[in-house]
């Protein structure tokens, strides 16, 4: 798994690329928590996700819950088909706020 963190309009945009599985989810969790801890709105770009498993989804849930406790914004953008299917299986597609584009996401969380 690779990742990339940028900042735009005071929003942290973190892109996760590749497979988020049992091997890489601890790293994904660490990255997501670091972003949430910046205390700025966070957008997670999942367009480059090839595979995500329950441990990867768990990292996303933990980050979401941490952000919400602090009334922070946390949303997903450009969720790949494979990742969306897994979120749907977990019935989490309604729990997460999901935007089709980064622009929509920026407007939504700012």
């Amino acid at each position: 798994m690779k990742h990339d963190i940028t900042e735009k309009n005071n929003v942290t945009i973190v892109s996760l690329v590749g497979d988020v599985d049992l091997e890489s989810s601890p790293e994904a969790r660490k990255i997501l928590m670091e972003c949430v801890n910046l205390n700025r709105p966070v957008l997670v770009n999942l367009s480059g996700i090839g595979y995500i498993d329950s441990s990867g989804v768990a990292s996303l849930i933990e980050a979401l819950q941490t952000a919400r406790k602090r009334d922070g914004e946390f949303a997903l953008v450009k969720v790949s088909d494979g990742a969306l299917r897994v979120l749907q299986l977990a019935r989490l597609d309604k729990i997460f706020t999901i935007y089709d584009t980064v622009e929509d996401g920026l407007a939504g969380v700012s």
């Binding site: 049992l22 091997e23 595979y51 329950s54 299986l89 977990a90 019935r91």
Partner: protein, 590 residues
Amino acid sequence: MVKQAAKKIPTGGDVENFSDHLELLALMGRDFAASMDIEETLNKGLARITRHLNAVGGALFLLDETGEKLCCTSCSGDTEITGLTLGGDEGIVGYCVQNNIAEIVRDVTKDPNFQQAVDKQTGFVTKSILCAPMSVHDQCIGAIELVNKVGGDGLFSEADLQLLQALSSSAALAIINARMAEALVEQERVKRELELAAEIQRSLLPDKRSESFPVHGVNLPARMVSGDFYDFFPLDDGRICFNLADVSGKGMNAALLMAKTASLFRCLGKTIHEPGLLLAKINAEICETATRGMFVTMVGGVYDPKTGHVRLANAGHEPPLFHDANGAFTALPAEAPPLGISPLLVEDGGFPETELDLKGGTLYVFTDGLTEGYVEDGSELQVDGLKKLIEENAALSAPKRLDAIIARINRDDQALRDDLTALIIEDSAQPEMLALHPGVEIIPSDGAGGEKQLKLKLKFPSQPNRLKLVRSLVSATAELCGCGQEASQDIVLAIDEACQNVIRHAYKDEPNGEIILEIRHNEDEMIILLRDFAKTVDTAVIRPRELDDVRPGGLGTHFIREVMDEVAFMPPPEDGGNLLKMVKRISHET
């Protein structure tokens, strides 16, 4: 409101007299325009003309296809000479047709062109003849001849001739129209047959596979049917048999030989797995029945996705291009003549074979329709251009890269120069991944008895970093068993989650545990067995979490139950550990 009765146009052959000539012309024009049966309409028209001009008899002559003979196709009145054939310049009819002029012979006994032979045969006594060519512009297709006027002196007048000329022209137009319509119908029929042939040809090509399948192909005919083809199909042992071929020539004869060769390959390829022998066998069959001068160039081979190994034979075809993982290109030239030339040219051992290991590289097989196709500036793509295109599109998936390459030649602004066919085999570098992940062992099936259904058997240690490789092997196996993309993804997810549970809960993250995965396939289900050797887990405590409870963890078991049709913990094996059985029912992508 005043009702004005429209002037009634007489219909049917029972009306004998018209108020004027124009009325007859209008009626005949309408009959011809509406006619579905030109012969019947001509018969009716000739009868009307004969009656209207008060002739004793009438005959209609048409020139045959060669233009050298005149044949009587229709008669009315007292003369019955249907079927009579004259030379193209014989008699008064021949004279009128040759010179494209109308003639009135008031008294036949004084005309040197009159053929008395016919009268002698039929016993009819011809006194006076009226004859007008049936012509439109300069095209004369025959003539109408009337004989003997009823009553009076039995002789025709100049006014009669003028009217017959007008009626003949209208008949000529009708015949020409009918002949054109017939030609159009024939053209349309041939086109429909070609469309059907093209459809059958397309059905000979293999179905499109999902992106992760290692082999993809494309075939675009330059005309409606193609002389090129490609095919690939999985063998029982997981290897993939492939071929691509080009039949000499284009059009229907090439298309038929293509259909024959494609069928031979598919049929024989299922039992003969040595490409050299397979091509030799197809060669022998084609030679036995081939049409003189036609031949087939072909690359046929077998690719093993598990090892990346390719064995192929090239019979006179364009050299396939191998693009290795380091970016270097190698051409694989033909070492044997095309198929269908001679069965004697080939040695007993079959066609010579080439073997190579793709090692994460890609093999391109194509017809000259690709390398000799025109790019935007009007020049041919050539092999160098193809290499450049391959490099430019390296980041795309194999099928998308193939589409991008084809799009350079198959453009809207230009018709294809030749049939265009290409096949791509992309090796997913599993052997390299295996080297990077020591400890994952593919256990070969011995193929005995019940083992036939066994498609994959893996042994690997209980470490998270082995799962990526396991997923890719499972995905390839599912694809080869005919699972669709979604079913493959589901099977991958379930196996991955089940392995995680074993690693985290059974082995409690202890890295030296052993996991054995087996995938079996029968007609409509994939059966997965996952075995570990940890302490037997009390299956009663394993349950999917409540979904309303949004928290990390516990999702894996839910995923497994959601995507699989059956999930069962089997009784603990005698030597300890746990055995999980999962079943996924699949609908085949035929």
